[in-house]
Symmetry: C2
Subunit: 334 residues, 2 copies
């Protein structure tokens, strides 16, 4: 690993990406509004506050069971606003299209994007397209920026997290990562596992009224383990996760065992990790389980005093440290 | 030219790109706010109105005399807001980085982006980075989305244009296109011509108070001729341009003659084309000429009745039709 050239590890959501963002982007662009630890920027405005966020998408293949790069580009940005406690309103869309992409495929993808936007209640209000020469792009890259309305009176953030708070996840982890990997058929593996790609707005709305809600994040690049790491780093607390409580589908576990992946690092695109005061944990869980996308929601651990790291407690009473991600298990997953 | 695969002509700002945007993007995403003929979306909000826009950047080489992809990514989006009559406030930034890009170069580019943002008075409030494998990207692609405050009481738009209105340009055309082309050294040509890449905010502010100001646009992809075409198509009027009045630098003319380019189709990144009621044309020109970036501003023609096309009147009394752009003279220019 050299630090003079960009490597794939600079894009994997782990340490190298954090160092790149801190050392290059945040260093130059630093300003009080640009919080590299937040999912969306909070923008002071004349009446009320806007939330503003952006995300880029390079998933390969462009279409996979349960979604495509178009719906993903809506869900990614909508979900960043949703977990920040905002109601998404407007999106912008950039498309970098590689010469040679079949127009029929582009049409399907844009149609899917439009459906996802409609379902999430957002309007694509601005857009731009660029075409790059054959070989200079990966078929299609998308970027979306989103503007949302901040829900008044809600103060979410990692700084509100306390020892004893419960960690919840809204559903099984790793579906998106494994679904996309299987769609590549690169290991001769096939499967009909669908991505979890979806708007998490119903999930975030269901718990936004709970006074004990501290923080939410969608575990995309780097997965559940990376979100737990970010919380642990920011709070100085230990994230203790109970392996037996973390929902993982059998098919995801089977593929992970076969290929040596760890499901806790795999991307989800329709799940929420929430940190909630223990007193409200049962209410949050009940609210999620009442929703179609939250039926497998689970309380998976607690924030606790101790060394600031992520500790996985195994069913047999052992522990395993979930280190910060370094190698990219699955590039171009979102 | 086939219409089943994306070709480079789909990205050149001309007819094929318009058909792609109308036939695919606007067809699926159509909504009252998404105006594919506007530079920025006008967003109703509680107090006042936001303007929201986005642009993607794939210029090659990444650095060139007078600018780089970083400053360009600020100017492009700032200028889209400026010509729409807004004051830019916030930007989002997406970076698609190719594995292998030297970090020192990325650092220079992001630093340049930060300087350009500071000079234009905008804050980068959100960002995201993706890294793609070597060979899957062109070094670096950027996308920026921008939020601005709409200036109250100003009604700009092509629908306000009338026969007899004057067409103004704020400075020489084609500098950016030729500067980038020379930086490639692909024809064995070298030169020290600098791009005109800059924020046009001083220029737009200087004329925003004129009651006769109808419409402004920055002539980027497709250049002056494409802006004139867009105006002509939207108004049903003829755009009559006086060749002798259009400012073109000697070095730009020389390269164009050598390579068979037409300077009126070359991208500018720091110029404004304005349509102004004849009664206010002299005032607009004087306001621009008082600025460092407007010293070569010129009245270059008029909107007039007749067939809706762009007619170039040559110094010897002849005429030449400037057709809608089809072939891309210089791909990856912005």
């Amino acid at each position: 690993m050299t630090d003079t050239y960009i490597t794939l590890a600079h894009g994997n959501g782990g340490r190298y990406m954090r160092e790149l963002i801190e050392g290059t982007f945040a260093r130059h662009l630093g300003n009080p509004l640009l919080d590299i630890n937040a999912d969306a920027a909070r923008l002071p405005w004349d009446a009320g506050e806007l939330m503003f966020t952006t995300d880029g998408f390079t998933v390969q293949p462009l279409e996979f069971p349960g979604g495509d790069i178009g719906s993903l580009a809506v869900h990614g940005t909508v979900n960043d606003l949703a977990v920040a406690g905002a109601t998404p309103r407007y999106l912008s869309l950039n498309a970098f299209i590689e010469e040679g992409l079949p127009l029929t495929q582009l049409d399907r993808i844009v149609a899917s994007l439009a459906r996802a936007a409609k379902m999430a209640g957002v309007v694509v209000a601005a857009g731009d397209t660029k075409v790059v020469r054959r070989g200079e792009g990966g078929g299609l890259y998308l970027a979306t920026a989103g503007i949302g309305v901040r829900t008044p009176g809600i103060e979410l953030g990692m700084q509100t997290i306390q020892a004893g708070d419960a960690i919840l996840v809204s559903g099984p982890v790793g579906d998106h990562g494994i679904a996309v990997m299987l769609a590549r058929e690169q290991f001769g593996l096939k499967g009909e596992l669908a991505s979890d790609s979806a708007s998490v707005l119903p999930l975030t709305r269901a718990v936004l009224g709970l006074p004990g809600l501290r923080f939410m994040r969608d575990p995309t690049r780097g997965g559940l383990a990376t979100v737990a790491h970010e919380i642990s780093r920011a709070t100085g607390l230990q994230a203790g996760l109970q392996q037996a409580a973390i929902p993982v589908r059998d098919q995801v576990s089977a593929v992970c065992e076969m290929l040596g992946y760890d499901p806790y690092y795999l991307a989800c695109e329709g799940r929420v990790v929430a940190v909630v005061a223990q007193a409200d944990a049962a209410a949050a869980l009940a609210a999620w389980r009442a929703l179609p996308d939250g039926q497998d929601a689970a309380l998976i651990g607690h924030m606790q005093p101790g060394r600031a790291q992520v500790v996985l407690h195994t069913p047999l009473g052992g522990t395993r440290i979930l280190d910060e991600l370094e190698d990219d298990p699955l590039p171009r997953i979102c």
